[in-house]
Subunit: 377 residues, 2 copies
């Protein structure tokens, strides 16, 4: 029995977009879904109760950050990450690779693993596919991600090919030490840079393993939106229909709406909380930079179409004041609204898919937001 199962409930007849449900031991969630990121055992500025209130069903934890601080001894003593941070729902953890690769020098990456210096105290560490699984086992996440080699952009064809093939070998090593599939799921990760044939090679290799789900990594790393969407298009028919597909690190409205059209089920990004803390609100009409002087005496909500706690109780003028005065409450309220907006956007997407109207939904989304319609569909 797998710790995580996926049920494809409906494919939109208008668009092919997928509506489904993922079940875990800590609860189930419908897809497509946005997953808030809880880097350091907290979704920044939010309590677990508030995450429940905005209908966040699953959150992320960052293996690298938790490994470095508070460290696995503390997490193990707490009985895992769920208990440590008092979050009862499902948790997905990344492999730690993304952060480690950004800290490592090129010569530190070998077939065996990656060596790097901690950003906190400079201490040296060595991350391997096996160790990543070991750490995620201690974290006790419902979904673990394999250690992959995240290909930077731009990268040469040979570099991207070597990376994806190493990622496949690292997946084999991760599977070898994955001794508890009934407790924690393991997802493999499709790489391949921005080369269509390499993406397809990677998708074929990675999905040849019978895993409960798959990630797509190395996208939204600086390339144009069209390039990213092309990479999703070329692997769409290779990815198994009956497994969930997680587009890693992507979570802006346009990118999510377009990716759902290409069969993606799960998203995560620090974007909503990061820009929220800096005073930017994400709305159905585009971004609202709340610290702008034009909002000084604007006593309307951030987004009149939004039903969140923030939009029902606070004005743009008040939020602008809080952000300009560097008040924690301002960062809290904008993080709250932004997370609500993205979670609710995916809820609306699920409803549109079920009603076989997802293409209409995409058009309406672009129209409301004042965007140029650039969907390739």
């Amino acid at each position: 029995m797998s710790a995580v199962t996926y049920e494809l409930i409906h494919e939109c007849r208008q668009s092919g977009a997928r509506y489904g449900r993922v079940r875990t031991e800590h609860g189930s969630f419908e897809t497509p879904a946005f997953m808030p990121v809880g880097t350091q055992a907290t979704v920044k500025a939010m309590t677990p109760d508030e995450l429940q209130e905005i209908d966040a069903k699953i959150i992320l934890g960052n293996t690298y950050h938790l490994w470095m601080r508070p460290g696995m001894e503390v997490i193990a003593a707490a009985g895992g990450l769920h208990s440590f941070m008092n979050w009862q729902g499902p948790i997905l953890t990344d492999s730690g690779g993304f952060q480690v690769f950004s800290l490592a020098r090129p010569k530190d990456i070998s077939e065996e693993g990656v060596s790097f210096s901690s950003h906190i105290d400079g201490s040296r560490h060595f991350l391997t596919p096996e160790l990543s699984i070991g750490i995620q086992k201690t974290l006790g996440s419902d979904i673990m991600m394999q250690l992959d080699e995240c290909t930077p952009w731009p990268a040469s064809y040979d570099y991207a090919k070597n990376s994806l093939e190493r990622t496949t070998r690292w997946l084999e090593r991760a599977i070898d030490v994955w001794d508890h599939p009934e407790k924690q799921a393991l997802f493999g990760i499709v790489q391949g840079g921005m080369y269509a044939d390499l993406r397809q090679q990677s998708a074929r290799e990675i999905t040849s393993f019978d895993l409960p789900g798959f990630g797509v990594g190395g996208l939204s790393v600086g390339e144009p939106l069209e390039t990213m969407l092309e990479m999703l298009d070329v692997i769409k028919d290779i990815m198994p229909r009956e497994k969930p597909r997680y587009l890693m690190g992507v979570g802006t409205p346009v990118y999510m709406v377009e990716s759902v059209l290409r069969g993606i089920d799960m998203f995560d990004c620090v974007y909503p909380t990061r820009v929220g803390r800096n005073g930017t609100a994400i709305t159905s009409k585009g971004r609202v930079v709340i610290r702008n002087a034009v909002y000084a005496k604007d006593f309307s909500p951030i987004d009149p179409d939004c039903n969140c706690y923030v939009c029902k109780n606070y004005t743009r003028a008040y939020l602008r004041h809080l952000i300009k005065a560097n008040e924690i409450l301002g960062m809290r309220l904008l993080s709250w609204h932004n997370l609500y907006y993205l979670i609710d956007l995916m809820k609306q997407a699920r409803e549109a898919i079920q009603a076989d109207k997802y293409l209409d939904f995409v058009k309406e989304f672009y129209y409301k937001g004042g965007f140029v319609v650039n969907s390739s569909k």
Copy 2:
């Protein structure tokens, strides 16, 4: 009809401590009470809903900060401070004097008022007793404080005498422009430095005006606790029994518990939120410096005797991690607990007063906290 009325309900037969109720247009609250400080139109890190949840009945606003930012044009357009910050309960505003005096140079203080430079943009301003009332009128607070000259410590006898006498003259000027006693209450402020006869002179002068309540200012400014308590002792019988007494800027547990014994009804202090953001918890057993290594694997609550949301849901180990990782949630949760503790401490004090057991309560408080019993009673 006065905007604010006070009812002395019971005097503790064991100690003389007072239990009463203050009524305002925005609701009533029992005394003795701790009032959280909302300097910049927010009690730092807390929503109005959370303040309600911890039973905060009245909060403070700082006239100086709100005058400088967002400015009175914005507050007036919002319809006052209650509406601007979405707080429905009573609000007390200070005069702005305390902050202005700390920014002014000695030569900037005259009989007419105080000139100073804004800490935000350096612009020059001139605060008078009349202007302070005008600003507080725009803020729409339930209780306004007169502009006073806060005597520093130490100060010479002559300096303290001149300050208190000017404060009395400034009260007359404030009363002259207080044209709406049915909408907003005005409290005068007792000064007098650390000289018993000057404190008594000030108490007699200030309470000769028929005002709905009185503040005691210029205490807890660096002097020993015993000196402060002596200053309260010498004015205790001069202050009218049927009016509430507000000890300005005092809000640590020992200081509050001792001051209640000397007839004080209202307190405020930034202490709980300030030390909370820095990772210190206030508990019935004294202060807990949560970032200390000893708490790294301590999975007990901050205070096992505390019934607050934080103590019911989070461990010392988790809070330590959050504070060390500089996470907003850590600052939020410690602010929450600390405010709850002080508000609850005053609730327990009220119950002890009603039961005529306030001296027993003080002894128990010192015993639990491991303090040396230094009450002069």
